[in-house]
């Protein structure tokens, strides 16, 4: 197991190296001069030259990359041009919105999807199964941001129960902050929940066909015990894998939902940075989100092999 984990860790380091290179390449090598982009049309040539000098853009690209990477590894992602603050500090200040949003969406996804998938599998090819599959098909087809708009239309515009957006902030109490994130989390988790319903149903159906499940039934065990004890535990491996991969996708999806509900998270920080031509912030947020997704994917991979030792021997 240790050897396998070490090999995966080496692969993770190599992947993170590529992630950093891709972020750097897009911003620095693609056509266009970052200094001119930041200065815009109103900046003079001398001002652009000074900025280029201060950003180290006159040095060879490999040198720039190594220096940028070395700084990033120490947690220094540069300084925001718009806010005149360290990018790392800005990202950290927005995480208390984005992270709970993604985690609440993940919780909604699991709580809604696993029981529904289990229910559909135990009612295979009966009305309950078809109804669940139709529901999940609809869930997969509805764009998250439209679901968000419909929730605002229903709960805010029509019923007037909640505000249509904005974040109360953790300082005004945990309850108020969680309430601000509730609708966005449901809208964000809906699509991923629909995917997980299908994965759960499929995983449980596979296990239900196994001989040991037939034996458990033949022994006279109750259906609840057969499904809860013998089926679900064995079906959990693929379910955890899909749920883990979905977690990374939720982070990216949060960018859109933050816009719908006017939440001051990472996504809105990046979108604002684009308007302000604040390249260090865009670069920092992209590096942070992409690295987090890659680390989550690798963690899922590792958990998968811990739960099912056959995989690392193959």
């Amino acid at each position: 197991m240790r050897r396998y984990a070490a090999r995966r860790a080496a692969a993770l380091v190599a992947t993170l190296f590529f992630v950093s290179a891709l972020v750097f390449v897009v911003v620095r090598i693609l056509p266009g001069d970052p200094a001119a982009l930041i200065m815009g049309t109103e900046g003079s040539r001398e001002a652009s030259d000074r900025l280029r000098e201060s950003m180290g853009l006159n040095r060879p690209l490999p040198v720039q990359y190594v220096e940028w990477l070395a700084r990033a590894l120490r947690g220094d992602l540069g300084r925001s041009i718009q806010y005149d603050l360290p990018v790392g500090e800005l990202i950290a200040s927005r995480l208390p919105v984005t992270l709970p949003l993604a985690l609440m969406a993940a919780a909604f996804m699991v709580v809604a999807a696993v029981p529904l998938g289990l229910y559909a599998a135990t009612r295979h090819r009966r009305a309950g199964d078809y109804a669940t599959m139709i529901l999940s098909q609809i869930g997969i087809s509805v764009p998250q941001f439209w679901a968000g708009l419909l929730l605002i239309l229903l709960f805010s515009v029509t019923l007037g129960w909640v505000r249509s957006g904005g974040f109360e902030g953790w300082s005004s109490g945990v309850g108020a902050a969680l309430r601000s994130l509730l609708l966005p989390a449901i809208a964000l988790g809906l699509f991923q929940a629909a995917v997980l319903v299908r994965a759960t149903r499929s995983a449980v159906l596979d296990v239900l066909r196994e001989d040991y499940v037939r034996t458990a039934r033949a022994k006279g065990l109750s259906e609840l015990r057969v499904v809860g004890r013998h089926t679900l535990r064995n079906a959990l491996i693929p379910i955890i894998t899909v749920a883990g991969i979905q977690l990374g996708q939720l982070l990216a999806g949060a960018i859109v939902l933050e816009s719908v509900f006017a939440l001051p998270g990472l996504g809105r920080l990046a979108l604002g940075a684009i308007t302000a031509r604040d390249l260090p912030v865009v670069q920092g947020v992209a590096l942070f989100i992409a690295s987090t997704i890659v680390v989550i994917n690798f963690a899922v991979d590792l958990v998968y092999t811990v739960l099912d030792p056959r995989i690392r021997y193959e």
Binding site: T15, A21, V26, P143, F145, A252, S259, A270, V285, A286
Partner: protein, 272 residues
């Protein structure tokens, strides 16, 4: 075998919705009830009526005509994005699986890295450098599809390269290029076609999301995502403004999802 009728029903329903989507897009190039770009100060934010079955937007433009024209944008972005993802992914997968060794390991780490960039993140990065637009959407979404096509192709190549017909062709003196393009690639086509079909609705959802964020299609060009962005400010005054473009996205994606599911069940009996 009992799944077959269901697979046929899913495929038929999906194909019917998809054909309707293509027909609406095609029709919109020749005819729309009104000009999708013509504004009317007196007819702003109207609900559905005989003259405007889907109502009008904040500039008095006919929403039905804009929804019809938006179908062209969605299909165009979908086709080109899936094309970019498939072309790059298949090339990477063929090379990685066939050559193997350190090149395979390096390319797969690159693919793992690209997987960390969902379409929205790539579009954010590209928009920081280029002006936002439909082109940025196509490239960003296309890149997000590369990993899935690369992995699928690599897996097929690893399986096929030791099969008898490939070994026989090699023994007869076939070169690598011929082995890859004439013997291996054609045998990976079925799963690739299914993957392309299932990627298409994802591309439509991503295009709408990017347009909504202002990173994709720009006004006044009709795009379903952009229409929803505009509708958000007028939810209280004309809720229909948000309902029809969103409904169009959901219907198109539903049709394409059903088509993909049906196709997979019909082409690959193992999953049925």
């Amino acid at each position: 075998m009992r799944r077959r009728p269901l697979a046929h029903a899913t495929f038929t329903l999906g194909a019917a919705i998809t054909l309707a989507l293509v027909a609406v897009a095609g029709l919109s190039l020749l005819y729309t009830p009104a000009d999708p770009l013509t504004m009317s100060i007196t007819g702003r934010l109207q609900g559905p009526s005989g003259g405007h079955p889907f109502g009008t937007d904040q500039f008095g433009r006919d929403i039905l005509s804009r929804v019809m024209a938006g179908a062209v944008t969605s299909i165009a972005v979908g086709v080109i994005a899936v094309g970019i993802g498939a072309a790059l992914g298949v090339a990477l997968g063929l090379l990685s699986g066939y050559v193997g060794g350190w090149l395979d390991e390096t390319l797969m780490r690159l693919v793992d890295a690209v997987q960390g960039f969902p379409a929205i993140l790539s579009a954010l990065l590209f928009t920081a450098v280029f002006a936002p637009g439909t082109g940025v959407s196509m490239v960003a979404i296309g890149i997000a599809f590369v990993p899935v096509f690369a992995r699928l192709t690599r897996g097929s190549v690893l399986e096929l390269r030791e099969r008898e017909f490939v070994v026989a062709a090699r023994a007869l003196g076939a070169r690598d290029r011929r082995l890859l393009l004439r013997h291996i690639l054609p045998n990976t086509l079925a799963p690739l076609v299914v993957q392309a079909t299932t990627s298409f609705p994802v591309a439509i959802l991503a295009e709408a999301a990017l347009a909504y964020l202002g990173l994709g299609t720009q006004p006044p060009h009709p795009s379903w995502g952009l229409m929803l962005k505009e509708a958000q400010n007028f939810l209280g005054m004309n809720p229909w403004f948000a309902v029809f473009p969103g409904g169009a996205i959901a219907t198109a994606v539903l049709g394409l999802n059903l088509l993909g599911d049906g196709l997979r069940d019909l082409l690959d009996p193992k999953t049925a």
